[in-house]
């Protein structure tokens, strides 16, 4: 393990909200339930989990935006609660989506303003802004208003903003969400280049291939807890003894799903909506031939392509998230 740059020890965060229309009662929602991990210097660590798993809450505690309910976290040795100012000087934060920019102004004005807020020395601001614009491929478009930018361009501008002050630690919260495939690939190349520059990166995503291709290590988070941690290869090992039957189907009912799960030898069943069709993934133990049995259970369902393949990180993730109690 390299020198820990990010350390989270038993981090917990509870949100207090209210329930009831007329008689409001307080309701505590435990979003993060004792998360612990370390990220070494120059490492690209991924937090992988479904929506609402606690990824963003964890990252917000680490970047000093939220106070933990309990537990501790340090970035470069500085406590995120008591040394927030020192942490802020040393981190960059980039989140996904269209928000977080001053839309009515050109990208250049946005970057100049944040350069000032991030304490970039005036004499190097021009050079630094030019560098980050070049890095994200926005050179020549910087004088255009952000409101005219595509989603991918906005996202790249977010990355440029987060790197303005050359922070040693960068937090990326679902940076490629909603970006078209070409734009996302370019962004991933930019992210990969960050660790080559020696930066420590914490990335949250729910795109498996992104985590697989970028991360040195991954922590899988579900229902506010880390349920598995390791290299992408380690995690794939969770399902190394399995075979995946993939069925393209149209109109799979809940009853059909239940009957598939009941087949002896089936470890897990998941379904992904794809436009008009559904992609059914049935995980079974290696050596057990279940294709015909599965198709038999889909009686009355229109079936398209059927394939048997080796497990991927996504299958490992599905197995971890669905099979962990």
């Amino acid at each position: 393990m390299r020198t820990p740059v990010i350390e989270a020890v038993d981090l917990r965060r509870t949100y207090r909200t209210t329930t009831g229309a007329f008689r409001r009662r307080p309701l505590d929602v435990e979003a993060v339930k004792g998360v612990s991990f370390e990220v070494g210097e120059g490492e690209l660590f991924g937090l992988l989990g479904p929506n609402g798993a606690g990824k963003t809450t964890t990252i917000k505690m680490l970047i000093t935006l939220l106070l933990p309910t309990s537990g501790t976290a340090r970035v470069l040795g500085y406590d995120v609660v008591t040394d927030a100012a020192r942490v802020r000087e040393r981190i960059g934060y980039v989140f996904g989506g269209e928000r977080g920019l001053y839309e009515r102004l050109p990208a250049l004005d946005n970057l100049r303003y944040f350069a000032e807020l991030y304490g970039v020395r005036p004499e190097i601001q021009k050079q630094r802004i030019g560098y980050v614009l070049d890095l994200v491929g926005l050179t020549g478009r910087e004088r255009e208003r952000v409101e005219g930018y595509s989603r991918g361009m906005r996202q790249r501008l977010h990355v440029a903003r987060g790197l303005l002050h050359d922070p040693p630690v960068v937090f990326l919260d679902e940076p490629t969400i909603g970006v078209d495939p070409v734009g996302a690939r370019e962004l991933r190349a930019t992210i990969a280049a960050l660790t080559e520059q020696g930066k420590t990166v914490l990335l949250t995503t729910h795109y498996m291939f992104e985590a697989d291709s970028l991360c040195d290590r991954i922590g899988v988070i579900a229902n506010g807890s880390i349920i598995a941690m390791g290299t992408p290869r380690d995690l794939k090992g969770v399902v190394a003894d399995r075979t995946i039957v993939e069925v393209e189907a149209f109109g799979v009912s809940d009853a059909a799903m239940a009957s598939l799960r009941a087949i002896p030898g089936v470890a897990s069943v998941s379904v992904e909506e794809r436009d008009q069709a559904q992609l059914l993934c049935v995980q079974s133990h290696k050596g057990v031939e279940l294709t015909q049995t599965i198709l038999g259970k889909l009686d009355g369902v229109k079936v398209g392509r059927v394939a048997v393949r080796e497990p991927t990180l996504e299958d490992a993730y599905v197995a971890l998230v669905t099979e962990t109690p």
């Binding site: 970047i63 106070l67 934060y93 009515r104």
Partner: protein, 271 residues
Amino acid sequence: MTATAAVRTETRLLDRRIGRLLVMGWRFHLKTLSQSSFFILVSVLQPVIFASIAFFMFRVGGREGTLLYAALGAGLMGIWSSVLFGSGGAIQWQRWEGTLELLVTAPAPFILVLLPLSLATSSIGIYSLTATLFWGVVFFGIPLQLAHPWLFALAVPTTVISLGLLGLVLASSFVLYRHANALSNLLEYPIWLITGLLVPVSFLPGWVEPLSWLLAPTWGAKSIQAAALGGDPRFPILMCALLGVVYLLIGSRLLRLFERLARGRATLSLT
């Protein structure tokens, strides 16, 4: 370099950084707010409408000499509205746009991030004052003869800065409470009334006056009216400036407290 010289250089760099943060931030937010045609339109139209109503009322009442008083009052009402909706609305808007979290996580002290925003919103209010004076001169033939032009030139920026600092106090609460901008609607009319922006405070019940002394718009109105219409504007200018300093101290304390509370209560973002 000796230790003293090093400290002096460090202090100079810090002063320079604070100065740059304030000036660049003010310019940036002024530019952002100026891009909102709705905000500018409201800043100009609303005081012009109020000024017109006051002009007609004063003219019907045969009080021609008070027309400039009405124009200045309506302009100041515009500055106050701009501060109220600007400071509150801007924080809420930044929360919607997702930029509030970025401002909080920036290494710059939050007071130096928010202060230029408040000052920019009050500066936008100068549109209101200019519009009502222009309206009065062009459409109502009110001669713009200032009793003390130099003191008028001092009273206006002092009032604008002081109101901006009052906006900072309000903005700090808008950081903590997601729906605090609803407070803006409650505070607009009472402040117009009790600070003598259109009706002299002496017309109101006695208990209002001490309350009005705590509010910068009162002294701002007195200073601008005295500088324009005659009288001694120096004391009101001084009071306006002093209240500005008090607001700055209160605002910075509240901001530090509310920022921490907002991080605890998770109110910096919408979700």
